[in-house]
Each structure stands twice: as C-alpha cells, then as structure tokens.
Symmetry: C2
Subunit: 416 residues, 2 copies
C-alpha cells in the first residue's frame, strides 16, 4: 500500500519528516511559501541548538553537513549572577551544534529535492484546505502560519500563560570570543532573566548567538524593543552596559571594538506565548490532518527544546507512517501516544524554568555546582526532556535526583 503524504511547512519538523519518508520510499510532498533562494537575506529566524539526539537524526537522514568537530560544542557553562557569582559546567556525552536556519533549512530542502522529493511553493488559504485533505492520505501541518494552524484548538490544561514570560532579544554577534572547545553558556541574572550564548554556524563562519531572555519588568526588558536600525551604536552600547551588569562572564568575552550584529538583519525581538494544541482534525470521510512541531507545542526558547522535540516528533510520525496501513484518527491517536510524553515534558520543563526557582531547584543548582556527575546528568537530559521532567518536576523528584548522584557506594560485603 503506497501512502501519499502532504506536509505543509518546511521547518525542521516538516523537513525531517519529509526526508525520513523519502528515505523509506513513502511518497511525500512538501508545501511551503518560501523557496530556498529566498532565505539568504531575510531576518534572523531563530537561534536553535541541535542536541546530539537531533544530530544523530541528521546523520541518519544523511543531512549532517556540519560534522566538523570545530563546529560542535561540548558542554554547558552555567553562570549565576549572585552577589557571589556561582558557576559550573555540565558535559554532554556527545557534542551539540547550532546552524543559522537561513542556511540549514534551504540546505535540507535542496537535499530533499535533489533526491527526487517534490516541493510545491505556495501559500495555503482557507479554500485550499479541503482540496489538500482530499489529495493526500494524510495531511501533516508543520506550520502555524495561515488557516491550517488555526484548525488545532489549544489545550488550556497545558497552556498556562496568556502572555510571553520573556521579552526576547536575539542576535548573531561578532566580537564575542569563543572558548576552545566551544560551549553554550547559560547565564542567569535573578529577577532580570537569562542569556544563552550559542556558538552558531553563520554565513560567515561561527559567530555567537546571544539569546537574551528578559523578564518583563526587569532591567533587561527594554532590549526587546530597542531599535538597532535607528541607532546601531546606541543599541550596542546599551547592550554592553546591560551585559556588564547582568551577564558579566559573557561581557568579559567581548571585544567591544568588534562587537556588532554579524549582519543588520541578524536581530530578532519579540516573545512567545507557550502553547500546546490538540493535534488531530478528522474530516468527513475519515481523512485527518495532524499537527507537528510548533503547531503542536510552541515553547519559549530558554531550554533549547522546540526544534529538538519537533525533530523527535517528526521521526515518531515518520516511523508510524511507514508501518501503517490506514492513516485515520486511530493512527493519529497512536502517534500522539508515542510522542506526547517527550513533547509535553519539554513544554512543562521549560515553563517551570521560566518561573522563579523553587527552593528545591535552588538546592539542585547549588548541588550541581559541587557535583560534576549531577551537573553532567542535568546537561545530558537536554536531549531527553521527558527524563529531565522525571527528575525535576517536584521537590521530591529533585531530592531523589540529587540522592542518586550523591549516594555513597554500597559497602563491600565479604562473599561466602
């Protein structure tokens, strides 16, 4: 039985699914409103780190074009801007890597096309939905843009916020020194927000993404609306002043003379309302549309989970499609059963980290600063948000997590 799959949206979710299906001989058509050559000069799309589980999926798909060890990063560097600053590192078991999506997405579209994949370039309007449903055995909605994304109602029980919890100011910058080997820095200024420094493959080699996660009402909030174009010098000076005060360990890495956006369009400001949606719409006749990626769950970028769980969910869906005979509501139910725990855990964990830390989380942070195994386990779990949620979702679980990594060895017993 040959399935015909329509995939609307060419982000990481749609592309990883399309490439997975192509590799398994399933007919997939990708539909997007942006051609590969249109990516070069648009505004920065996001800043996304791919953890090693995602890199492994790229290897599987044959689309890991950035495997040079010099492009990878190897650990998380934590910095807490306390009166007496706290810092520690946590190591991954395998390296992670970030690529500017204006490079990444068109490269994967080209991979898909070159291997015979069909891409249609068009915008989807309301009137296009029913013909699309009729045309394919399953319609995968991997973009929240346009009327298709609106098909999926939100789930209030998993969507606790009606406003962004951070005012984002995200840019690719020159003049920020890279450590060797490279790392991602997670810098926290209590009450004001976080900054994630991500070494990123850009159009001009590796540069640093500064992902400023500014708490509304905090001292950094203004960065989310400050204009670069109106007065670049002023913008940069304000940023430098804020970094010196709130994120000093990163400020120390900056060569102020060279500090600037890599390109004027390498800046993105705004905010995200974390939202989880229902994933399945059944049409007359039994055909279904299923949500994938951000349409299913959009998270604040704080913990670097969005793209990674989107890729994960794409593989779950791809695997189920390859094994399925009938692509109906029952099929979609089973897909959800398989993917939902990791997808929801990424949302829950991120949402928890957007709030002021509980006493137990504070204890975890303090203990990690003195316990390398614990810090490494926490870091590695950026790959497995479901496992992370098992460890940090309640004070009892945090205590058990700490205990597991600090328990003394069993006493050696004499054997008979």
């Amino acid at each position: 039985m040959t399935h015909h799959i329509g995939i609307v949206g060419a982000g990481i979710a749609g592309l990883h699914l399309a490439l997975y299906l192509q590799k398994h001989g399933v007919d997939a058509t990708l539909i997007t409103d942006r051609a590969p050559e249109e990516y070069r000069n648009i505004r920065l799309l996001n800043t996304v780190a791919h953890h090693h589980v995602t890199v492994a999926r790229e290897d599987f798909l044959g689309v890991n074009h950035w495997s040079d060890p010099k492009l990878q990063y190897y650990y998380h560097d934590h910095f807490f801007n306390f009166p007496q600053p706290l810092s520690f590192r946590g190591d991954f078991t395998r390296p992670s890597r970030a690529v500017d999506y204006r490079i990444y997405l068109p490269m994967l579209m080209d991979d898909f096309s070159r291997r015979g994949g069909k891409i249609e370039y068009r915008r989807i309007e309301e009137r296009d939905i029913r013909p699309l449903v009729d045309r394919f055995d399953l319609l995968v909605v991997a973009t929240g843009k346009g009327p298709l994304g609106q098909l999926f109602t939100y789930r209030p029980e998993h969507s606790p916020y009606s406003q962004p919890q951070r005012r984002l100011c995200v840019g690719l910058y020159t003049g920020v020194r890279q450590p060797d080997p490279m790392n991602v820095t997670l810098s926290v200024s209590p009450g004001h927000g976080e900054m994630i420094v991500i070494p990123t493959v850009t159009f001009n080699g590796v540069a640093n993404a500064l992902l400023m996660e500014n708490v509304p009402g905090g001292d950094m909030e203004e960065l989310a609306t400050l204009s670069y174009d109106d007065n670049p010098k002023h913008f940069l000076q304000v940023i430098l002043n804020k970094l010196e005060k709130h994120h000093p360990s990163t400020y120390d890495r900056i060569d102020t003379a060279r500090f600037d956006l890599a390109q004027p369009q390498d800046l993105l400001q705004g905010g995200i309302v974390p939202t989880v949606r229902n994933t399945v719409v059944e049409f007359d006749g039994g055909k279904c549309a299923i949500a994938l990626g951000d349409v299913h769950s959009v998270v604040d970028p704080l913990m670097g989970q969005g793209a990674n769980v989107a890729s994960y969910a794409a593989f779950v869906l791809g695997e189920e499609i390859v094994n399925a005979e009938v692509l109906d509501a029952r099929f979609c139910e089973k897909v959800d059963l398989k993917r939902q725990d990791r997808v929801l855990a990424a949302a829950r964990w991120t949402n928890m980290m957007l709030q002021p830390p509980s006493e137990a989380l504070g204890m975890l942070i303090g203990t990690m600063s003195q316990n390398q195994a614990l810090a490494d386990a926490f870091t590695e779990n950026f790959n497995y948000p479901d496992a992370q949620w098992d460890r940090v979702s309640t004070p009892e679980r945090i205590k058990a997590f700490i205990t597991r990594h600090t328990a003394p060895a069993e006493p050696v017993r004499a054997t008979a």
Copy 2:
C-alpha cells in the same frame, strides 16, 4: 529506596501486582475482605479465560498450577446460527486456560502468603481512606467495592452505555461433552445474543462454563432472571429449549440426562455497564491512589478481555513501581501512558462487538470462514486487543486486515 505499596482488592489485578512486586523485592501489602477459606462455598464469581499472554505472566510469577496440557484449550470454534449455519475455527499460537476463580484467587493468595507476603483481611470504609493513603507510598485500588472505587470518576467519552448491553446468565454445567483437544466455542444467534462455552477447571475437574450473553428484548433474555433454586428442572428445560433453538452446535454436545449446574451455587445472573474511569487521585501532600483492573475499565465478558488486561496492567504498574524513585502524579501519568492503549482497546473492541455487526464486520466473518490465516490472526489477537483494534476499528482497517491475509505473493523477479 524502598517503596511500601498498599493494594486493596485481591482479584487477578491485585494478586498479579502483589506477586510481581514480591518477586522484585518491593514491599506490598494486600488488603481484602475475604479470606482464602471463604471462597469454597460462595456463588460463582465469573467465568474467565486466561489467554496465553496471561498464562505466560503466571509462569513468570510461578503461580501456574494448571499447566497440564489436558486443562488447556487450543482454538476458538465459531458458530453463527444463520439460516444456513456458518462455522469455522481459529487457532491460537499457544494454549489458553480457564480456572474457577474460587480456586484461582485463594491459591494465589496462598502463594503470596507462603512467600512472606502480608495480607490484611478487612473491609475499607470512608474513614479508612486517608489513613491508608498516609500509610503507603502508593495506594493501588484494585476493587470497585466500597468507597475507594468511588474515588475514580468515570470517563463519558469512553463509556458509551448507561445500561448493560447483554443480560448475562452464566453457569458451570455438567453434561456438556468436551471435544479433544478442548476449545472455546463462540456461538452467535443474531438478534438474540452470544454464548461462550469455556472448558473450566472446577472443584470437580473440567466442566463447561456456559456464558450466555443475551440481547435485551431477545428470546434469550429471560434466562438472566429465571430462578434455578425455585425449580431446577424447569430452569434446565428452558435452557435446553433455548440452546436447541439458538445455539444448536452446543446443544448437540449436551447429554440432557446429565445436564445440570455443577453445584447449585454455580450460577451467576446479571449484567455489566461497560465503564472506563479516570485512574488517579492525588491527595494533599502529593500521595496518590491509582486504579487497576475493573476499577479502571470494566467490560462485558463477551470477548474475554477483563481479566487479561487487568493482569497486563498489573505488570505495567509493577514494572514502573520497580523502576521508580518517586510514586507521585507524574509516576501515575506514565503508568497510564503505557497501559492505556491496550486497556482502552479491550473496552472499545468489546463495545463494538456488543452492537449489531457492520457490513465490514460481516465481510470479515464471512472471509474468516474461508481463510484460515485470517481466522487464526483474529483469534490470536484475543491476546492483544490493541492489535485487534488496529485491525477491526473501521471498515477501512477491516479491509486492510483482510487484504493483508489474502494478498497474492509478490511476483518473483529475475535478479540481474
């Protein structure tokens, strides 16, 4: 970390869980209001066939006391009382077996006790709930009796009926000839109901359970209220008349002179409202009670699923307890994620079979009568109701199921 688990209810769910935990060194206390010696003379509890997945769990627990091949049955014999009767058989890959629960349950209680397990004999009242919750790390509710079962609210989306769909008349009978090897007969009288004939280990060797599933308003309905005690002869004569008319292939196996209940108390009459319930109640302080077995989902006995999915769910819960550090709401959520598909599928499949067959289901029945591989696959899936639901839940899936078992072999291609 040593967990202390309280299990209320000593049916198959509670017992299989208790024995599983005992085998893995987890402290479990079983609480029930009926001692082993009280089972001998009570009324028939049910008629339950254990499919081979359940027998395999008994082997794992070391409680399969009925492994003699002569006690097993090996296939389903289907009979449809059409104007031109239709019959066919479907084989299991491994044998199934039924034991009177008045023998089975106390035997497993003894196994548990003899191995050092704690059983408390008491009835649970409303005022006992909070102390029970406080006493254990997790309270497993494996009985619908009493106030504990009421903690779990029902799920209307999975509980389509407010009335029993069959009026049951269930008994253990002498005078019904056993085929060699033994089988279970599924006899259907359209519009009047089904009868399942189950060779069962009883207090006096193997006898046949006649599980009459009578459609309300049909010609068999009166059997659900007809009194045996008032007039045994009349009762048996009415039964014989009905069987001759509606289930003639079984009637032909009856020695009318020897036909009687095995014991006067070996009769159970009534009906079940298929109901699925929410499974978790979280108390102040974070401790939880979790439903298991019939409290989670009670099904009509038509497809022989209740005990088998209860045992399955007990093993899922046991495995999760053994691996868990914290037994909280998150823990229960993960248990539900693992067990829900099979448990719900058993309910959905049974509920579907309680309704008049669709055209597609009629086609499946007709095709099975001429296609042994298809009949065997359908039969084997009594072990795996989730897989069965994948195959029979819609006309499209039934067609795909048939096609898979009738598709011609791929043409042999010359290799280069």
